[in-house]
């Protein structure tokens, strides 16, 4: 029983990481239909930004989070204005272009910072473990879970409770008519893309104490995150959250029963079945696109 509870926590922890990486992707894909393969590189840039803040300014991750969000959002904005906005009528082409952007970003980091793995410290106040019964939970992982939930809530609020959210939803529903009402769709798209990129950056920064910070760290994350978005259903934040939870827990469960490799294979097969029988995801949005 203890083993199961511990494993359930492990699953939750994996889910939180998936969620925080996938959220930005979900927003970008859900609102613009852009399959952003450079998302992994935005995550990587976030991690490098955390490293830079730590080594040049001495900031801990927690302090630098807002700055990282802004910095990577700016990068996202530039990418959107420079490349992505030319491709809104050709969604499949965005796969190719953003893959190219990913290569470029990775190589720039490698050339100017170096290929070696970097160290970012865990915030001191989040060291240690919380023990409840036989369940041992790392404080940092608890923090990531809480943070992922908070970001989810904030994003949901942004989409449903703000002027910007209303505009964005209007543009998603019907771009032409929204423009007739004076909404500048281009601006809304750019802002959304920047927001998604900023979230990716925050995810990257949060990952640094758990993984190795290298120029290629993002490539491992983007495929999983994208699968989560598809399972959740296009444009559904709650769907993304549930999908992240399901994939995380399923991975943990299969890993306990078999091993990590077979666990991953089993999850992938489950995902294939799910997409086959529910191609619109767990929580399909009924909107006109």
């Amino acid at each position: 029983m203890d083993a199961i509870l511990n494993q359930a926590f492990a699953g939750l922890s994996m889910a939180s990481i998936l969620l925080i990486v996938a959220l930005g992707l979900a927003i970008i894909y859900g609102s613009m239909g852009v399959i952003n393969l450079a998302h992994g590189e935005f995550v990587m840039l976030g991690a490098y930004a955390a490293w830079a803040m730590q080594s040049f300014l001495g900031f801990s991750i927690l302090v630098s989070l807002p700055f990282i969000f802004v910095a990577i959002a700016v990068v996202g904005w530039v990418v959107e204005r420079g490349v992505v906005h030319r491709l809104y009528r050709r969604p499949l082409d965005t796969i190719l272009a953003t893959w190219g952007i990913g290569i470029v970003l990775q190589q720039l980091v490698r050339m100017f910072i170096g290929p070696e793995s970097l160290f970012v410290a865990t915030p001191t106040i989040l060291e240690g473990n919380t023990v409840i019964g036989a369940v041992v939970m790392s404080n940092y992982r608890l923090f990531v879970i809480a943070f992922a939930v908070a970001v989810l809530a904030a994003t949901w609020g942004l989409m449903t409770r703000t002027e910007f959210g209303t505009r964005l939803r209007a543009v998603i529903q019907n771009r032409e008519i929204s423009e007739c009402y004076g909404i500048r769709a281009e601006k809304v798209y750019a802002t959304t893309f920047a927001y998604g990129a900023g979230l990716a950056g925050v995810a990257g920064a949060l990952l640094t104490p758990l993984v190795s910070t290298t120029p290629s760290m993002g490539t491992y994350l983007v495929v999983d995150a994208f699968l989560v978005v598809i399972i959740g259903g296009v444009g559904s934040l709650i769907g993304t959250a549930v999908a992240a939870g399901a994939v995380g827990e399923a991975t943990a469960l299969f890993s306990m029963l078999m091993n990590d490799t077979l666990g991953r294979i089993a999850v992938l097969l489950a995902i294939i079945l799910l997409i086959r029988f529910r191609p619109n995801g767990l929580f399909p949005q009924t909107i006109r696109r």
């Binding site: 492990a10 160290f119 992982r141 758990l210 993984v211 490539t219 990590d260």
Partner: protein, 414 residues
């Protein structure tokens, strides 16, 4: 209409003419060209500068290049300058194979220095064996290979484990938890480890492999918590090792009672892990940056002043460095008119070289006699050497397999 199809054909011709033009080499390499020409000797460097493996291979590239430039600055090899051909195989086995062909066939290199992973070595093997070239491979590896065209500069399992595992069993206990990445090196090392453990009356309580690049170890850590082994025997590489070490530390395990014993963790990984998470765990290797010897002092100083004070040297970059000097010593034994890869190989056997780790010797089986050391990591990212083997340890790539020996004539069965 006709015109259109004509243009289409023309377009195709045009693009392919460009194609052909691009492909035509600046100098066509004829077979049987002499290797030593015009006071120059061509050597190739085949380390990934891009892609996932660049994390480590960049440092190997740097170390080997430094050795080559030191040699050239000091007058070269037997009066000849080394002309270096640098290729970037981008961490992809197919690209390794492609670039190795360039270096060996097109660029007429007399030797190629390269690579870190087993997969990349295997990708390069067909071309160096066919063309009878020489590949200097600086990395520790799983053994069970006996090519006559590879100079193996790193440790094989017996050199890393024969002292390490008994030492661990004596100091911490005989229940080992084996964790590694899912490929041939960790599996082979673990086979050897289990064999030694069986001889000592110990056991492997659990054995697990995760995909290369795997970075979430929650499940593994839960299993370690349940099993409570005496030692976590770790053959994770690169990013996986860094992630594992950090999460292991975050899980609150105490290295005093349950240390990680790694065959792959070097100063490079520890730098990314951070001293706090690395402290107290163990590694076994022939070289550590903090080793005290005049040669090492010189090596470290040269490396840091060249590439920056925040850089580190480690047991693979040390081998990448001393292998170039082994190459030099072997070439200098030869008549300049008869320099061929096989002649270099034959001249290299039995050669002793003063390396940063101590005096190393090339065995007839082309592996290297090394000085294994057991070290504990300190919080400053350096290793404290606890045990140093009393004598050089001979390489035995088929140590765990009765009836198979790697000799100067290749693999001998029976």
């Amino acid at each position: 209409m006709k015109r259109r199809s004509f243009m289409k054909g023309l377009g195709a011709t045009g693009s392919l003419a460009i194609t052909g033009g691009l492909a035509t080499p600046a100098l066509l390499s004829g077979a049987g060209r002499a290797y030593a020409q015009g006071g120059e000797l061509n050597v190739g460097l085949l380390f990934s500068l891009t892609g996932a493996v660049a994390v480590v291979e960049r440092t190997l590239h740097d170390a080997a290049l430094m050795a080559i430039e030191e040699i050239n600055a000091a007058g070269g090899v037997a009066g000849m300058q080394l002309k270096t051909f640098i290729e970037d195989p981008a961490s992809d086995p197919a690209t390794y194979a492609d670039r190795a062909r360039r270096l060996v066939i097109r660029d007429n290199c007399v030797s190629v220095f390269g690579s870190y992973t087993s997969a990349s070595r295997q990708a390069v093997l067909p071309v160096v064996e066919q063309r009878n070239n020489l590949y200097w491979y600086p990395t520790l590896y799983e053994g069970r290979e006996c090519s006559r065209n590879v100079m193996y500069g790193g440790a094989v399992p017996n050199q890393q484990q024969q002292e390490f595992v008994p030492w661990l069993a004596e100091n911490f206990g005989k229940r080992f938890f084996l964790i590694g990445n899912n490929y041939v090196y960790p599996r082979e090392e673990n086979n050897v480890c289990k064999m030694i453990l069986a001889g000592l009356g110990g056991e492997a309580v659990h054995e697990e492999y995760v995909p290369l690049g795997h970075s979430d170890f929650s499940s593994v850590i839960n299993r370690i918590r349940t099993e409570q082994p005496d030692v976590v025997f770790c053959t994770l590489v690169g990013d996986s090792d860094v992630a594992f070490a950090r999460q292991y530390h975050a899980a609150g395990f105490d290295p005093e009672t349950m240390p990680c014993a790694s065959l792959t963790r070097s100063e490079v990984e520890v730098q990314a892990i951070g001293g706090e998470a690395a402290v107290g765990h163990f590694s076994s290797a022939p070289y550590f940056m903090g080793y005290q010897s005049p040669e090492n002092e010189k090596f470290v100083q040269a490396y840091l002043s060249r590439y920056g004070a925040d850089q580190v040297t480690h047991f693979v970059s040390e081998a990448a460095y001393f292998q170039v000097y082994q190459f030099k010593a072997a070439v200098e034994k030869l008549d300049p008119a008869n320099i061929t890869p096989t002649a270099i190989r034959d001249a290299a056997v039995g050669l002793t070289t003063m390396a940063p780790q101590g005096e190393v010797v090339i065995d007839a089986n082309l592996h290297t006699h090394l000085w294994p050391k057991i070290a504990r990591w300190k919080s400053d990212g350096q290793a404290e050497i606890l045990v140093q083997s009393e004598a050089r340890v001979a390489p035995d790539p088929y140590w765990a397999y009765e009836g198979e020996t790697c000799t100067g004539e290749g693999l001998v069965r029976g």
